[in-house]
């Protein structure tokens, strides 16, 4: 039995199918039709709902795409839908702001926007008001609107963050926290949905049910259900596994549990690596980052998973656990081929470890995509580079989008290392790039564009590191 709170109602859900999505549950089983299906692939945000979880003594609210989230992962959480915001005929402040600013036209995307606005409203406001615009955009970039052109929605967003008031959810929060603590986290199985709470249980389940799929955020796995129409059978949910959600920090290194979400990763590493933080803010959408995990992104083995090049540049290590115990690999040994990793059938990713303090050097990250927000990289470059007296010391370069898997550009690294950081070195590195990569043409871009841009990104890095006087990134204007 999966137990959770739907708005204010305690739900005990028998799972007849492990792969029931939250959106199916809401629309088909509860007839709550305020939450819409726009794409069933987590790209448009029309299905956005909110999860509240107890952290410390308070509730933390996170928006997510209900179309690609499995209902089993609701266990122990409060699911909030658009129907819950207005009370007694009175609109919630975020709803009223949308009405006042003419933020809806056809209205189909509107409930999703309202739920994202609600999370923005609940989010602690950044210290600097100059970041307001950025914060609004960050919270709303995963909601597509085809009618308004977004200006009135941005106005509504700015209004609500400037006028926080206590709402009925705040007033009910103690009650909600009690409801959730009664549920607890302990529910090991419901139908074909398994919720281990430690690594040992997980290892046993994985061993006993080799056909079961591991589920972290599920933002890619769920597409097998909604797009490929598969029945997934058994799912093992990783979100409650203690070892996977922990972060262990020492003076030398930081070990990040595989089930750490991308939003959490930004909180952990963003201050140390501002360029990683900037990348993460363009990684999927807030809805995706709230549930998608470090381990999920790596295990997926996508050639355009944006974390892999960064971890490779940082020389991270990945720790795998299986029946034979633990083993640790360097990140650039993890990917084997297109969507193939070093993971054995009995293994799961336990953690990723990064040395710290970071070895002297700068992390540069460049993501190129057709759209700024919520788009998959055409090319992504991450590079950790050390400089001394205008010469390049060590440099580790990794690219996404240039090959069947994320890969180090070893010839290019060789062309750079030890040489002066100048245009002629970059020209040599460009030539080396075409020995490192023979990219493909696909729906996002041609091979020729990819190769040209990859070389141009090296040029950008050289200009930036040389301290050029002129603006070099659009975002800086």
């Amino acid at each position: 039995m999966i137990r959770f709170v739907l708005n204010s109602e305690r739900i005990d859900l028998e799972m007849d199918r492990a792969d029931l999505t939250v959106l199916e549950y809401l629309r088909e089983r509860r007839h709550l039709k305020g939450t819409k299906e726009g794409c069933a692939s987590g790209d448009c945000g029309a299905c956005t709902a909110v999860l509240a979880e107890v952290e410390g003594a308070a509730l933390v609210y996170r928006n997510f795409n209900s179309c690609i989230t499995f209902a089993g992962s609701l266990h122990g959480k409060q699911l909030i839908t658009v129907e819950h915001l207005a009370q007694g005929g009175r609109l919630h402040p975020v709803q009223q702001a949308m009405v006042d600013h003419h933020g809806s036209q056809c209205g189909f995307c509107t409930p999703g926007f309202v739920m994202s606005l609600f999370c923005l409203y609940k989010f602690p406001r950044p210290a600097s008001a100059s970041r307001d615009a950025e914060t609004c955009r960050e919270f709303l970039a995963g909601n597509l609107c085809r009618c308004t052109g977004y200006r009135p929605i941005l106005d509504a967003a700015h209004q609500v963050i400037n006028d926080p008031q206590q709402d009925h959810l705040d007033r009910a929060s103690q009650l909600t926290i009690e409801q959730l603590s009664e549920i607890g986290t302990c529910c090991h199985q419901a139908g074909g949905f398994y919720l281990p709470d430690n690594a040992q249980q997980l290892a046993r389940l994985k061993h006993d049910m080799p056909d079961a799929r591991l589920l972290a955020g599920g933002t890619d796995l769920a597409l097998e259900v909604t797009q490929q129409l598969k029945d997934l059978g058994k799912l093992i949910y990783l979100g409650n596994v203690r070892e996977l959600t922990e972060v262990r920090e020492t003076d030398e290194e930081i070990e990040i549990g595989a089930a750490t979400t991308l939003v959490r990763l930004d909180e952990l590493l963003g201050a140390t690596y501002p360029e990683l933080s900037a990348l993460l803010k363009r990684f999927g959408s807030r809805q995706i980052r709230n549930v998608a995990t470090v381990g999920g992104n790596l295990a997926n083995g996508s050639p355009i998973g944006d974390l892999a090049p960064v971890f490779m540049a940082l020389d991270a290590r990945i720790t795998l656990q299986g029946t034979g115990g633990l083993r640790t690999l360097p990140m650039d040994g993890f990917f084997r081929a297109y969507r193939k990793t070093a993971l054995r059938d009995d293994e799961f990713i336990l953690s990723v470890t990064i040395s710290r303090p970071p070895e002297a050097g700068q992390l540069k990250v460049y993501k190129v995509s057709k759209r700024i927000d919520d788009d998959i990289s055409t090319v992504c470059l991450a590079c950790l580079i050390t400089l001394r007296d205008g010469r390049i010391g060590r440099c580790r370069l990794a690219f996404g989008g240039m090959a069947e898997k994320t890969e180090r550009a070893r010839n290019t690294e060789h062309a750079l290392a030890g040489n002066r950081l100048d245009a002629s070195t970059i020209n040599l590195a460009r030539a080396a790039l075409s020995r490192d990569f023979q990219p493909i043409s696909d729906v996002r871009a041609s091979a020729r564009y990819r190769l040209q841009v990859a070389g141009n990104l090296l040029e950008r890095m050289q200009l930036e590191l040389s301290g050029c006087e002129f603006p070099i990134r659009i975002g800086s204007l």
Binding site: H31, C106, C136, A141, G149
Partner: protein, 772 residues
């Protein structure tokens, strides 16, 4: 002023009222077709499609589909009781392919099952055997082979060959502009509920209930009066639900008729993107002559639109491209050929602007190229070529321009957006910025309002006043988010001087308003607002007549005011008047009708007066491009748009901003791609990128042109505002070209195509820079 002739202040029109469904939108209470309360029994349909682009369908084994869990029925073309062809204007759109297959994704059969998932899983199980033929997938190939869905059309005036030959300067060029997926957030969906006598009620998300009614009746072989079609609201339409919303209703209706159970046919996003047509992509060839001032002396165009496999609305769409390839400029000698090219792809269809944008962008390209060749600011060349209302006033289709407020708009915008100073600031920026380059462009829009098919320019309405003074309003227009319902309610409220809250607008239904035109061509308010006004006036004059009789007051001394109905010396509340009139046995219900006056177009001579009036606007956009990656960003846009005397400025500004951003997507990030077999690759929002919130420019100043009521007698002197603003986005595309020019030392005219994706921008820069 004497008491009887007072014109009271407007109480409803001109006010920035919220959308009538705004509260329902934000609370999740607004019902769309798929939100219909569950019926006791309901099946779900899914469609099986062709795996090849062109060839013949030799054999289908549907037994595995029949035998799949939950399946209750499977139909093919052979199972349609009536007509299989649902072509809206010309034949050529079979509901299911019978023998000839014309695109990859063409419907071959449909399955009904007890759940949507089971229907979708079952639809994948058919064994389909086909014989492939060589498809035509490419517009250039279709042009070369003269492969057309409809014959070419030509418009001309003057002597083009002579004047081109003797022009001081002459340029020939080609520009290509891509198509566009509608990406309405609510996909295509219909719910068919069987009724008595074989009849059918269809709830559907479509812009054309009457057409759907007619086609459902035809496929079921029923008279139209056995079919009711209901459209409460759409989650976006943009033209994609004008003709191509009908097939799903027909399929649901056939399945519902056979099973006797209600059937929903809702397309998945991918099916929707693959099966339905898009905005036409065009190849525009031009040959232009001009003088030293940049003034055009003659021009010849060939506009070739890719129509896909069937005519659909393509004849009128390519016509509208031809009608708009003058934009705001006088073309003294002009010849325009419009080609309707056939390819083995989904049938391209209406999309906001209806071909107009594809024609207009050709003209703006020509202007930019003239300016480039003469080293002038493009804005100067634009001004040099504007129409006037005296000697340079004749369009290529021989309609004279009677009113022309583009110079006024441009003058205002040039000043308010600080064009001159910013041009100079950008020049300075570019001089010191080798990697990032800025560009600026200010472009006008002149867009003809009316359906170019004359008979569509009519509308009907129905107004009931109930005995408690509440008012029920229906008209033939459909609500797709454009705020039509609130605007028409404001018009009716104004007639009775009552608050709009007193008026309820319910679903558009063919059993209430018959024989309607599609809600399209920006004409929703112009047509339906007038029809509703006509109905309301009938009731009002009956009330005036009644009050005059009853209180022995001359009719001219009776006035509807916000305080009530002034009748001589007394003022009666509206409810009281209504109650008394009912007791006095006065009919409080009326229908209204409207037809646009004075419009005609003769295709034989390619001349006439196809447009009632023109909607105008202008935009100035500033962009920055990154010459290392081709990425770009819109930094600032200023717009002044002519909405006449706006009925609802908030709704109209919403159309202007939303249209602009939709146009921006079309011209910068939305790229349709197919593989060599004709399979659509950009078939989901993961691969097809409409603008997201970060694409809205950080500075976005939008203003409605003030104090310029429509010179033509439209409803409250307003102007249509649905489509025209989309073309304001051409300013951003021209600004990208301007920035590319700066990145290449203005050495060669940047032959930029649309969409200007990062890859396209980098391609143009590379080609210009390539050492020759």
């Amino acid at each position: 002023m004497s008491r009887g002739t007072v014109h009271p202040e407007p109480v409803a029109t001109g006010r920035a009222l919220a959308h009538d469904s705004a509260r329902k939108h934000v609370s999740g209470d607004a019902l769309y077709v798929d939100d219909h309360p569950p019926l006791a029994r309901q099946y779900h349909a899914c469609i099986g499609t062709s795996p090849i682009a062109h060839g013949t369908l030799d054999f289908m084994d549907l037994a595995p589909v029949h035998n799949a869990p939950g399946v209750v029925d499977v139909i093919t073309a052979n199972d349609i009781p009536g007509s299989v062809d649902i072509g809206p204007v010309f034949p050529g759109d079979p509901l299911f392919a019978e023998r000839t297959i014309e695109y990859l994704g063409q419907p071959l059969f449909a399955v009904a099952a007890t759940s949507q998932k089971l229907a979708r899983q079952a639809a994948t199980l058919a064994l389909v055997r086909t014989t492939e033929a060589e498809p035509v997938l490419d517009l250039d190939m279709a042009i070369a082979r003269e492969f057309h869905v409809r014959p070419p059309h030509r418009m001309q005036r003057g002597d083009v060959p002579y004047n081109l030959e003797h022009a001081v300067h002459r340029i020939r060029g080609v520009m290509r502009v891509g198509g566009q997926e509608h990406f309405y957030l609510e996909g295509q969906v219909s719910l068919a509920i069987p009724g008595e006598d074989g009849g059918m009620t269809v709830h559907t998300s479509c812009q054309n209930p009457t057409e759907t009614q007619k086609l459902v009746a035809q496929v079921l072989d029923l008279p139209m009066n056995h079919v009711d079609v209901v459209t409460r609201r759409m989650g976006g339409g943009f033209g994609g639900k004008e003709t191509q919303g009908a097939a799903w209703s027909c399929i649901a209706a056939v399945l519902a008729s056979r099973t006797g159970i209600a059937v929903t046919c809702r397309l998945s996003r991918r099916d929707d993107m693959i099966m339905t047509g898009k905005r036409h992509n065009f190849r525009n060839d031009y040959d232009v002559g001009f003088d030293d001032s940049g003034r055009i002396t003659a021009i010849r165009y060939r506009l070739a639109g890719q129509c896909g496999y069937s005519p659909d609305l393509s004849d009128a769409i390519v016509d509208r491209a031809m009608f708009h390839c003058d934009n705001a400029y006088y073309l003294p000698h002009v010849m325009i050929d419009g080609l309707r090219c056939k390819t083995h792809t989904a049938s391209n269809t209406a999309f906001r602007g209806f071909g107009g944008p594809q024609g207009m962008i050709a003209m703006e390209t020509v202007i930019d190229e003239i300016a480039f060749s003469l080293g002038k600011d493009p804005l100067e060349v634009r001004k040099t070529n504007f129409y006037n209302t005296s000697d340079r006033n004749l369009t290529p289709y021989h309609q004279a321009i009677g009113h022309f407020n583009i110079p006024e708009i441009i003058g205002q915008l040039e000043e308010t957006c600080d064009y001159r100073n910013r041009r100079e600031a950008i020049r300075r920026f570019n001089a010191s910025s080798p990697i990032l380059k800025k560009g600026l462009a200010l472009t006008p829009v002149k867009f003809g309002i009316s359906f170019t098919v004359t008979h569509l320019n009519q509308a009907g309405a129905l107004v009931h006043v109930y005995t408690d003074g509440s008012i029920h309003l229906n008209h033939g227009g459909t609500e797709m988010g454009q705020g039509l319902m609130i605007k028409v309610a404001q018009i009716v409220a104004e007639e009775f001087k009552v608050p709009t809250e007193r008026i309820v607008v319910s679903a558009t239904r063919t059993d209430k308003i018959p024989n309607t035109s599609p809600t399209a061509a920006s004409a929703g308010t112009d047509l339906n607002g007038m029809a509703a006004l006509n109905a309301a006036r009938k009731i009002r004059s009956r009330l005036v007549e009644f009050l005059s009789d009853r209180y022995k007051v001359p009719q001219r001394e009776i006035a509807f005011t916000a305080q009530g109905v002034r009748t001589g010396d007394r003022t009666l509340g509206f409810e009281e008047v209504v109650r008394q009139a009912w007791l006095g046995r006065v009919s409080l219900s009326a229908t209204g009708h409207y037809k646009t006056p004075g419009i005609h177009y003769d295709r034989e001579t390619a001349s006439g007066h196809p447009f009632f009036y023109f909607a105008n606007g202008a935009a100035a956009s500033e962009v920055v491009i990154d010459t290392l990656t081709g990425e770009h960003r819109l930094l600032r846009t200023d717009i002044i748009h002519d909405a006449g005397a706006s009925i609802n400025p908030a709704v109209d500004v919403g159309q202007i901003e939303g249209g602009f951003i939709q146009g921006l997507g079309w011209l910068t990030s939305e790229e349709l791609k197919w593989d060599p077999s004709g399979k659509l690759l950009s078939d989901s929002p993961a691969t097809y990128k409409i603008p997201a919130i970060g694409d809205t420019p950080p500075v976005f100043n939008v203003r409605i042109l003030e104090n310029r009521p429509n010179e033509e007698a439209t409803v409250y002197r307003s102007k249509a505002v649905g489509e025209p603003p989309l073309m304001l986005a051409i300013s951003a595309w021209c600004a990208i070209r301007d920035a590319i020019g700066a990145a290449t030392d203005h050495s060669t005219f940047p032959k930029l195509n649309a969409p200007a994706t990062p890859e396209e921008v980098l391609r143009v820069i590379r080609e210009i820079r390539r050492p020759s």
